[in-house]
Point group: C2
Chain length 691, copies 2
C-alpha cells in the first residue's frame, strides 16, 4: 500500500463506528468514548440498529442511512458480522476500514478461510484495511482515536507501530502520566492482511510530527520492501525496534554450518543492523531509547563524565559503561584546578567518576558541574543522585536543569531511590531532559545510539562491479547435481572457484598409482580426502587425512580412506597451513541471501563466533561491523602472523552472495575452512547445498 | 574480631552520643533523632559541652560526667576530636565505638597517619571500632539506630553490610515504603580499621533474625578468612554480593597468559562462586535477589510456566528465560483438557507461554492458574499482567494471592505499566509474594538461585591425597632460577613434570650433529624450539618450528633458530597433535593461589575463554563449573574426537595449585598448550614465573 494512501487513511474527515454500544465493557462502547474524548472535531457517525441515540448522538441503523460521505469505517463487530459488512461499505463508497475482530488466521483453519475471503474482497473492492485482530490507530495531531485503549493517548513525537495490541496498550499506559512524551501516531497492525509494518514505516518516515519511529515486531511480511524502506527511513530519523522471538528458532536440522550458525534471530539482527535500525533488547531499553530520541538528548561521543554523591554507584555505572565500550573522559589539569578552587580540592576525588561524597548539597553539584563541563571532549554527562541525609533533591534537579539549558551536550540525571526521591522525572520532562531512576539501561542505549551515528557516517553504498564468475560453467556444474540435495566436494569447489574465489586445487585420483603420480606434481605435504558423496561431515568419520609427508604415509592414508568409502577413488590436495575461517551463505525465506563469516576449523562449533550480512553489502559497512567481532585480532595480526586483509575477505563474501544471487538453485554454500595463509585467503574445503 | 564480640557491640544496653547537636544538618543531630525515633528503650547519654539539654534530655559535658556504665560510644565529631576522645573512652571503660569522621586514610598521607594512630590505640586499649568514615549501624530488633540516615530503618530479615554508606542509604530509601521488607541489621563498614566485612558476615551467619545476607563490597581485607567464613555461611543462608570495580583492573602488564587472563574481577568472581555467594550484577538485580530470598520464594527448578495477557511480552520474557538457561515446561495433554474445559480451548494458546489474550479478566487468570498449576514439574510460575481495556487489576492480584496461598511453588506476578497498574506491590508484599514491575531482572536472578541450590547439593569437599611431585628436586630446580624473573623452558618443564603432570619430553641439542642423533631416538615428526632464555613469547619471533618431518626440514629449521638466537643450542621435542588448552596458576595478593583453564593455542588471545578456581577446589565443584564453559564440547567430544576426561584435567589443575602452595617462590605457571591427544592430556610448553 502506498504512503499517500495511508495519509488519507490516518487523516479521515469523517468516521463511522459500526457496532457502537452502551455496554461499557464492549469495544463498541470504548472506541466511541475514546474518539469523543480525544477531541475529534469532524463528523462521527454511530451505527447500530439496536439504539436510537448514544453519547447524546443519533445512532443510525445502517451505514447507508448516514447519507454523507464517510472517509473511514471502524468495524467494532465480531468476525462474521464484519465480513458481512464489506458489501455495505462498498455501497456507500468508503475505502478505508479498521477491523478489530479476532477469529481470523490467528485462530483456526476456519479463520484462515475467513481471512482469505477478507483479502479477496479487499482486493476486489479496493479497500485499505488496518487489522483485523488489531486495536486501531491514533493520530494525536488530528485528535483521532479509533482504539479501545483504557486511556486517551498522550501527544508527542514518537510514531509507534505495534504488531501486538497488548504491547501498544502497555506503552500508552506507561507514558500517559509523563510530560512531553507521547505519540504522533499509534498504529496497531493486527494480522496485517492489507496494511503492514512497511506501509506504516514509509508513512511515518515522511511525517513531520514524527521524530523517532518505534516498532514492535514479531515478524516481517515482505522482507525486500522492508529492507529498502527501513534503510531509507533510518537516514531521515531513528527507528527503534523491539523484536521478540530471539530463542524461538525452530529446531530444523541444518545440513551446513552456515545454516546452523545463522538462525532466524541472527538474520533479523543482521538486517536491522545493516538497515541502520536500533534494536532494543527489552521493553525497558526500548523506552530508554525512545526517551533519548524524543527529547533529542543524543550523546556527542562515547566520552562520558560521571558526577555522583555515591562513589560506589558511580563505580557500578562505570563498569556498565566500559562493558558497552563507552569511555570515561580524563579530567584535564586545568579543570582539576577549577574544581579545587570552587569546591576545595581535598574534599572530592578529581578522577572520573567524580565522587562528590554523600553530604553533597545542590551547591556542590552546581560547582562540580560548572567546573567540569568545560572539558571540550565531553560526549555526555551522567549525574547520579542517591538520597543521603542532607541531599537536596528538588534543588539539585533545578541546578541540573539550569546547567542543561546552557550546555549543548546532554546531561542525564539518574535519581535513584524511592521514598525521598519521589518522581523528579516530571520536572525534568518539562524541560525535555532525559532522566532515569536506574542506571541499568542507559549505557547500552548510549552505545547503540553512538553506533547508529557511526552508521550514518558511512559513505554511500558502492558494490564491486567486477562481475567475477563464469556463470555458464557454474550453471552447468550445478545442474550436474540435479536431483541431489548437495553437490559433491569436487563440484562444490569448482563452483566456488568459478565464482571468483581462490581455491586450493583438488585432484581426483582413481587408484593408488594415479595418486602417487599426482602427488609427484604437487609435492608433499598433501591431504587426502574421502571421495564418497554420501558423507557430509568428513572429519567425523576421519575422512580427511592431513599433512601427509611421504610415500609411506600416503599409502597408509589411501588404504584407510578406501576402507571407509568402500571404493578406490580419493581426493588429493596440497596441504595448506594457516588460520581457519568459515564463510558461507544461505537463502532466507524473508530477507533473501545472507552471507556470514566466523572462526573456522574445529572451533566453528566450540566458539560459534560468526557475523552475518544481507547481500548486497558495501565494503565500508562490512569493515565497520567486522572490527567489532572476534576476527579483530586476525585483522590486526597477532604474535607475528600476517594481518587479515579485510578487502580480500569482503570480496570473497560478496562473491558468495553473488553466486546465490545468480543461481537460484543454490540454497547454501559453506567454505570451511577458508584459510588465512600469510595474508592470503584460500578456500580449502566447501559444500554447496541445492534447493 | 570475634563474633561474640560483635554480639555485644550490636546489642549495647546503653549508648552515648558524643557531639550531639541542635543543628538539623549535623550528624550529631541526625543520629540523636534517629536513635530516639527508632525507639531505643535503654539509656541514651548525650555528650557536648555546648548544651545543657537537647531533645528534652540532659546533655553531659563529658563522658565521665555520665557516671553510669556505657556499652557503646558513638563519636559524631570530626577526625581530630574523635582521636582526642579515645583516652576518655578508655577512662570510662567503654570498649565499643562507632566513628563517623572522614579524614583518615581515604584522603591523604596525613589521614593515613591518623588511621595508623587510631589502629594502634584501638589495639592497645582493646577497642572494637566500626568505621571510621562510616554511617553507623542499625539493629532493628533492639530498636538501635546509630546512623544519620534520613529515614527510620524498616525491620525485616535482610542482614546488610555495606562498604559504602551512600549505597546503604540508597537501599534504606528504596525499602522504607515497602511492606515486610527490611533489615535485621544494617552495618556501614567505612574504612574497616578494626571491624571488617568478614567479622559482620560471621556474626550475621548465626543471627536467627537474619534470613539472607546482603553485602556491598569494594574490596576484601583478609582474603583467607573471608573465604573460610563465606563458605561456611552460604551453607546456612544465602549471601548476595554486589561488588563494584569490574572494569577497574589496573593496567599492570602480565608476563604470563595466566596473569593476563585472571584479572582482579575474575578472581573475585571465582572466589564468590566457589564459596557459594550469589553475585548481583547491578543494584536492581541485587534488590530482586533480596526480595526473592527475604520472602522465601525460591524456584523449585528451572521449569517455568508463564501466563500472560500480552502474548508479545510473554515471548520477550521467554527469550530472557531461555538466555539464562531456564526452561519452559511443556503443558501435558491432561492439563490442556483442563484448560479447554474451564476456559474454552479455542480462545487461548495452549502452549507455554500461555497467552490469555488482551481481554483476559481476573476470572480468566483464575481459571488458567487453577488448570495449569496441576503440572507436577512446575518450578515456578510467572504471571504477566499489562493494562488492557478490560484488565481487572486488583481483582487479578487477589486471584494470584489466593492461588499462591494454596501452592507450594512460587508465583511471581509481574504487573507492567504505570498509570493503571499503580502500586500493586504493597498488596503482594503483605502476603510475602515477590512481585515485580518489569521482567528485566527476574530471569537472571532465578538462574543464579538455581545455581546456588545446585552448589548446596555438592558433596562435601574432598581433595586428592596422592601427594604427587618430588618437592626436593623441584625446589632445587627453582633455586637455579634465583635472581631471574622466570625459569627457562627446560627448567619450567622439569618442574611441571616433577609436580606430577604428564609432559612431552624436551631435549637439549648442543649442535646439529647432536640434534640429528637425538631425532633418531624419537623419530619424525618433531618440533624445534629456540633455546634462548631471553625470549618470552617464542611464537612471536617464529622461535618454534613445528611438525618437521625429514632431515632436510630439520636442517633448515635448525639454521633458522640459530640465526634468531645467535647460538648453537636448540630444544627438540616430539611433535604432538591434538586440541590445545591452556592451564595456569598465579598467586593473588588477597585470595592466594588461583588456577585457570581455557582454550589454548592461537585462540588463547582471540577467544579469551577461561575459568578460574581458588586452590584448593574439589573435583565435584570443578565438574559443575567446567560444564558451563566453552570446554563443554571437548568434554562431550565432537566430530569423532576423544572426549576430554575432566578427572585428568582436574588432577593436573590441582597439582599446579599444589605446586604454588608448596613453593612460595613461584609467582605464576603457564602450561600452554596442554594438548588433548586422544583423551590424554600432555604439557607441551610451559613457563614458570618467579617472585
Amino acid at each position: 500500500m502506498c504512503s499517500t494512501g495511508l495519509r488519507m487513511f490516518f487523516n479521515p474527515s469523517s468516521i463511522a463506528i459500526v457496532g457502537v454500544s452502551d455496554n461499557p465493557k464492549k469495544v463498541g462502547n470504548l472506541v466511541a468514548k475514546n474518539l469523543i474524548a480525544q477531541g475529534y472535531e469532524s463528523p462521527i457517525y454511530f451505527i447500530n440498529p439496536k439504539y436510537k441515540t448514544l453519547f447524546e448522538k443519533r445512532v443510525f441503523a445502517k451505514l447507508s442511512d448516514v447519507g454523507q460521505s464517510i472517509d473511514l469505517v471502524v468495524l467494532a463487530v465480531p468476525v462474521d458480522i464484519a465480513l458481512g459488512y464489506l458489501d455495505e461499505i462498498k455501497a456507500v463508497g468508503t475505502k478505508n476500514i479498521v477491523i478489530f475482530a479476532a477469529g481470523f488466521k490467528e485462530t483456526s483453519t476456519e479463520g484462515e478461510k475467513k481471512e482469505k475471503l477478507l483479502k479477496e474482497k479487499a482486493g476486489a473492492y479496493g479497500f485499505n484495511i488496518l487489522g483485523p485482530n488489531c486495536i486501531g490507530f491514533i493520530n494525536t495531531d488530528k485528535k483521532i482515536n479509533t482504539t479501545f485503549l483504557r486511556d486517551i493517548c498522550p501527544a508527542g513525537n514518537i510514531g509507534f507501530v505495534s504488531q501486538s495490541g497488548a504491547l501498544g496498550s502497555l506503552m500508552v499506559d506507561s507514558l500517559v502520566n509523563h510530560k512531553n512524551l507521547g505519540f504522533s501516531y499509534f498504529v496497531s497492525l493486527g494480522n496485517k492482511t492489507i496494511v503492514d509494518e512497511t506501509d506504516v514505516l514509509e508513512f511515518l518516515a515522511d511525517d513531520p510530527k514524527t521524530k523517532v519511529i518505534a516498532m514492535y515486531l514479531e515478524d516481517v511480511k515482505d522482507g525486500d520492501r522492508f529492507k529498502q524502506i527501513l534503510k531509507k527511513t533510518t537516514q531521515k530519523k531513528p527507528v527503534v525496534v523491539l523484536k521478540s522471538g530471539v530463542t524461538a528458532e525452530g529446531s530444523q536440522a541444518a545440513i551446513s554450518h552456515t545454516g546452523s550458525m545463522m538462525g532466524n534471530d541472527q538474520i533479523y539482527q543482521a538486517v536491522f543492523d545493516q538497515c541502520g535500525a536500533i534494536r532494543a533488547e527489552s521493553f525497558s531499553e526500548f523506552m530508554t531509547l525512545l526517551k533519548l530520541f524524543s527529547f533529542d538528548r543524543i550523546p556527542f561521543s562515547k566520552n562520558t563524565l560521571i558526577l555522583s554523591n555515591a562513589g560506589g554507584v558511580g563505580v557500578l555505572l562505570t563498569d556498565e559503561l566500559v562493558k558497552q565500550k563507552l569511555s570515561l573522559i580524563t579530567i584535564t589539569e586545568e579543570v582539576k584546578q577549577n574544581i579545587i578552587q570552587s569546591m576545595g580540592g581535598d574534599k572530592i576525588s578529581l578522577h572520573n567518576p567524580i565522587d562528590l561524597l554523600g553530604d553533597a548539597r545542590a551547591f556542590d553539584y552546581e560547582q562540580a558541574i560548572k567546573s567540569t563541563i568545560k572539558e571540550k571532549e565531553i560526549g555526555s554527562v551522567v549525574i547520579l543522585l542517591t538520597p543521603q541525609a542532607n541531599t537536596e533533591i528538588p534543588e539539585t534537579a533545578s541546578v541540573i536543569a539550569r546547567a542543561q539549558a546552557g550546555f549543548d551536550r546532554p546531561i542525564y540525571p539518574i535519581f535513584m531511590g524511592e521514598k525521598s526521591v519521589g518522581n523528579p522525572h516530571l520536572f525534568f520532562e518539562e524541560k525535555n531532559i532525559a532522566s532515569f531512576s536506574t542506571y541499568d539501561f542507559l549505557p547500552k542505549a548510549l552505545a547503540k545510539i553512538i553506533a547508529y551515528k557511526k552508521y550514518l557516517g558511512l559513505p554511500e553504498q558502492v558494490f564491486p562491479t567486477d562481475n567475477q564468475g563464469d556463470s555458464g560453467e557454474i550453471g552447468r556444474t550445478i545442474l550436474s547435481g540435479r536431483g541431489k540435495s548437495f553437490l559433491n566436494l569436487v563440484d562444490s569447489m569448482e563452483v566456488i572457484e568459478r565464482s571468483g574465489i581462490p581455491v586450493e586445487n583438488l585432484y581426483m585420483a582413481a587408484n593408488m598409482s594415479d595418486l602417487a603420480s599426482k602427488v609427484k606434481n604437487i609435492n608433499y605435504p598433501v591431504v587426502l580426502k574421502i571421495a564418497s558423496e554420501k558423507i557430509t561431515h568428513k572429519t567425523e568419520v576421519q575422512g580427511v587425512i592431513a599433512d601427509i609427508r611421504d610415500d609411506e604415509g600416503l599409502k597408509t592414508a589411501y588404504d584407510h580412506l578406501c576402507q571407509i568409502s568402500q571404493g578406490k577413488e580419493v581426493l588429493l590436495q596440497k596441504m595448506v597451513k594457516g588460520h581457519e575461517l568459515i564463510v558461507g551463505a544461505k537463502r532466507d525465506s524473508v530477507f533473501g541471501i545472507m552471507v556470514m563469516v566466523g572462526l573456522g576449523g574445529i572451533y566453528t562449533e566450540v566458539i560459534k563466533e560468526a557475523v552475518s550480512f544481507n547481500y548486497p553489502f558495501s565494503n565500508d559497512y562490512f569493515c565497520q561491523i567486522i572490527e567489532k567481532t572476534k576476527l579483530l585480532p586476525f585483522i590486526k595480526g597477532f604474535r607475528g602472523s600476517y594481518p587479515l586483509d579485510t578487502d580480500k575477505l569482503y570480496r570473497i563474501m560478496f562473491r558468495i552472495g553473488q553466486l546465490l544471487y545468480k543461481h537460484p538453485q543454490i540454497k547454501e554454500v559453506d567454505i570451511n575452512p577458508l584459510m588465512l595463509v600469510e595474508g592470503n585467503l584460500v578456500a580449502v574445503d566447501g559444500r554447496i547445498v541445492l534447493l
